[in-house]
């Protein structure tokens, strides 16, 4: 099984293919339907705060509560709609669950980004989450953008290089 660490380079993305099981470590961001449209607005207007580094980043589609983290459905309009925009500004892995549209798969290919799914294994993920702190949008409480330090999150590549695991 391949192990990768953030920040994710274009070379690493080239090596990832649908169906690959991967262990992900490093600093990652969280965001779901409330925060991602706001993050997209900031990116498009070149107003991303200095503490948020989108280049080579991973965005995990989850809330962060005292119960832990776990993927929400990535095909919610606001979440899936954020993937092409944020890929353009450097996000390399969009991490969630559920089938995404073929158009989104093509957009990810355009920016050399991938979509990965993560089992909803909250207890296991809690044991692999070293730290968590708010990175932005604090008013959204548990749906705020967090930065997590993680060790070996288990993920599967679901869309890469124009192909989707759901379409084969």
């Amino acid at each position: 099984m391949m192990s990768i660490k953030t920040p994710i380079s274009d070379e690493v993305i080239e090596k990832l293919h649908i169906g690959d099981k991967v262990l992900l470590s490093g600093l990652i961001y969280t965001g779901r339907d409330a925060v991602l449209p706001r993050l997209c607005d900031l990116a498009v207007n070149n107003r991303i705060p200095d503490n948020i580094k989108l280049m080579g980043s991973v965005i995990f589609h989850t809330a962060v509560s005292r119960a832990g983290v776990g993927p929400t459905s990535s095909n919610k309009l606001e979440i899936e709609g954020s993937m092409p925009v944020l890929s353009k500004y450097g996000v390399k892995i969009h991490l969630g669950k559920g089938q995404i549209d073929n158009e989104t798969v093509k957009e990810l290919e355009r920016y050399n980004s991938v979509y990965a799914i993560i089992p909803p294994v909250t207890a296991l993920l809690n044991s692999k989450t070293i730290s968590k702190e708010i990175a932005g949008f604090e008013d959204l409480e548990m749906e705020a953008m967090y930065q997590l330090q993680v060790v070996e999150y288990p993920i599967i590549i679901a869309a890469a290089h124009g192909e989707s695991i759901y379409g084969r």
Binding site: R66, A67, S73, I117, P119, P154
Partner: protein, 285 residues
């Protein structure tokens, strides 16, 4: 003396909430192990292995199985050994609150009046224990009084359905429609493999209540012919774990049939429970 009895009930109920949110039953674990052996899709097999690892971690660390810790549903089986007083009911509610605080549950209790809660317009309580349980369901049983705690997540609630089926005096007609509904729900659920909880009654209330009872009484290692048929037919959809394809879309079906109306209609409630559900614990009071 009474205070000690009350504290004991609160503790038992609190522990049941934590057990429901952090453990699988033995028959559920066996069902997963059996499915892993028989799964031919490597990604789906790996997902199910992660789900079992998650349960081991959750059990060991007393950490929630899923970050959607669910809405508590309480089923009280009143036996021959005790008289349930208002104070006992208060203790059950207090035990649920304590359990949610310790689990810890995801803070999901919405603030405000009717409109504000519907609109989710003035925010969420930051206290895990402010998630109110659903109304208590009461059954009369022989033997000792038992309390069952179920934690019902939001994903299955989105895909659940309670509606009428015209039976045409044929179990096949009812089974066919259940299978169609189940395939639709399972394919959209996301967190598969699922367990189908199904209640059939004379009204929407009754069907939903039998669906809840199916989750309480169902077992993966004791399946009726009808339950096995439904499971087998839905598994032919090849949705697989997390929708990745494979043999295991459904681990089992829990079906409860109540009294039926002398008419052409059956009310069916079906909940495609997620890969962790039914999250349930039972305690003798």
């Amino acid at each position: 003396m009474e205070d000690k009895i009350y504290e004991t009930i609160i503790e038992k109920v609190s522990k049941a909430v934590i057990d429901a949110g952090t453990t699988f039953s033995e028959d559920k674990k066996a069902a997963y192990k059996n499915s892993i052996v028989n799964e031919n899709n490597p990604q789906s097999r790996w997902v199910m292995e992660q789900i079992l690892k998650n349960e081991e971690t959750a059990r060991r660390e007393k950490s929630p199985l899923c970050d959607d810790t669910g809405i508590p549903h309480i089923v009280l089986d009143i036996g021959d050994d005790m008289i349930i007083t208002p104070e006992y009911i208060d203790c059950i509610y207090e035990g649920v609150r304590r359990g949610l605080e310790l689990l810890p549950g995801r803070p999901m209790g919405l603030l405000g009046d009717d409109i504000q809660r519907i609109e989710q317009s003035i925010g969420i309580s930051d206290k895990s224990q402010d998630v109110e349980p659903a109304p208590i369901m009461i059954r009369r049983i022989k033997g000792k009084t038992k309390l069952h705690i179920l934690l019902l997540g939001g994903g299955p609630a989105i895909r659940a359905k309670t509606y009428r089926i015209f039976h045409k005096h044929s179990i096949n007609a009812v089974e066919n429609e259940i299978v169609d509904w189940a395939i639709e729900g399972v394919s959209k659920l996301g967190c598969t493999p699922c367990t189908l909880a199904i209640g059939i009654g004379r009204s929407h209330y009754e069907a939903a209540s039998y669906m809840i009872q199916a989750m309480v009484d169902g077992r993966y290692d004791i399946q009726s012919e009808l339950e096995r048929n439904i499971t087998g037919r839905v598994n032919e959809s090849k949705v697989g774990a997390l929708g990745l394809g494979g043999n295991t879309s459904v681990l089992g079906t829990f079906l409860k049939v109540g009294p039926q109306r002398a008419s052409g209609v059956r009310i069916v409630s079906i909940r495609p429970c997620c890969c962790f559900e039914p999250r349930i614990a039972t305690v003798e009071l």
